[in-house]
Symmetry: C2
Subunit: 183 residues, 2 copies
């Protein structure tokens, strides 16, 4: 497996971006490689294409599996595991967002609830700030849940509304006053 210059550059870019995305270079590169490969690849092919060690490939694939970002595939008469990304890009994005939410948002929501449970600590400002933060995370989380449920077609339609977007919101009926924006 040798990469074309185009593949090479794409893969290296995702390796660099890996840092910013909270995954390491190798994991980024493996995912990029799978993403642009028509056929599923086995660990040895990945290892060779990326010039990394076999064990590094193994760990990277495990990490990608924990993110639910790769699919396993098997071929008749070949007992090696072959890996691919879902064909549907929207599915990939949904998974990515769900996993990032789980890792980056949910633990904080849990922590904030936990701290509030411990009861007032006489630290009025800090407590108010934390409550405000928790409420905002809850609001955004419930919005996420609603968007998550939408079929891709509706999601695409929503995203292409453009200037109609704001007026559409205004047309919708009133909402519960308790959830209105704080001053």
């Amino acid at each position: 497996m040798t990469l074309t210059p185009l593949q090479q550059e794409f893969v290296l870019h995702f390796g660099e971006m890996g840092n910013r995305w909270g995954i390491n270079r190798t994991v980024g590169q493996i995912y990029a490689l799978l993403f642009i490969s028509r056929e599923a690849l086995n660990a040895d092919q990945i290892t060779e294409a990326l010039s990394i060690s076999r064990s590094n490939t193994s760990m990277g694939l495990k990490e990608l599996q924990s993110w639910k970002l790769v699919r396993l595939k098997h071929y008749q008469g070949d007992r090696r595991d072959y890996f691919t990304t879902p064909d549907d890009l929207w599915e990939i994005v949904r998974t990515l967002i769900a996993e990032r939410k789980k890792r980056e948002i949910d633990p904080t929501l849990t922590k904030l609830r936990e701290l509030e449970m411990q009861g007032p600590a006489g630290d009025h400002y800090a407590e108010a700030r934390m409550t405000e933060l928790r409420e905002l995370i809850e609001l955004m989380t419930s919005f996420y849940d609603d968007m998550e449920k939408l079929e891709t077609e509706r999601l695409v339609k929503l995203m292409t509304l453009g200037s109609k977007f704001a007026s559409l919101i205004d047309k919708a009926g009133a909402v519960m006053p308790s959830l209105k924006q704080r001053s």
Copy 2:
């Protein structure tokens, strides 16, 4: 400056989350501390509260400034810099999203356009995948731009639509067919 147990725990939590958010522990802690402090703090106060070195504080504050996440404040007869977070939590979230988009999405969009510019490389599948990815990022980016423009009040209303959400999209007029979902 000594922290209350509540503050302590909140600050430590944000330090831990820092990793997952692509900022380091210290930066996370500094931000958390400023977030729950009623008054603006100077570098020495932060240094003492977090038990870190003065230089680390300096670098952390610089990093937070590059994220546009802190405000500078000055007091009469005191030439030290005092730092705060915006009172408006929505503003903080908007800034955070804008900066993350800039760091995590925009470079890839640029790279994809650059690779497409280089013209067809005979690598049909990879090229198609990259085009698909670019188009999806562009769609999401334009949606982001629309949401970004909304006043907070409308944003909150949108987020509280709940079950009305899906039907609202359906009620909107048809969109340009060229931007419909790909099979």
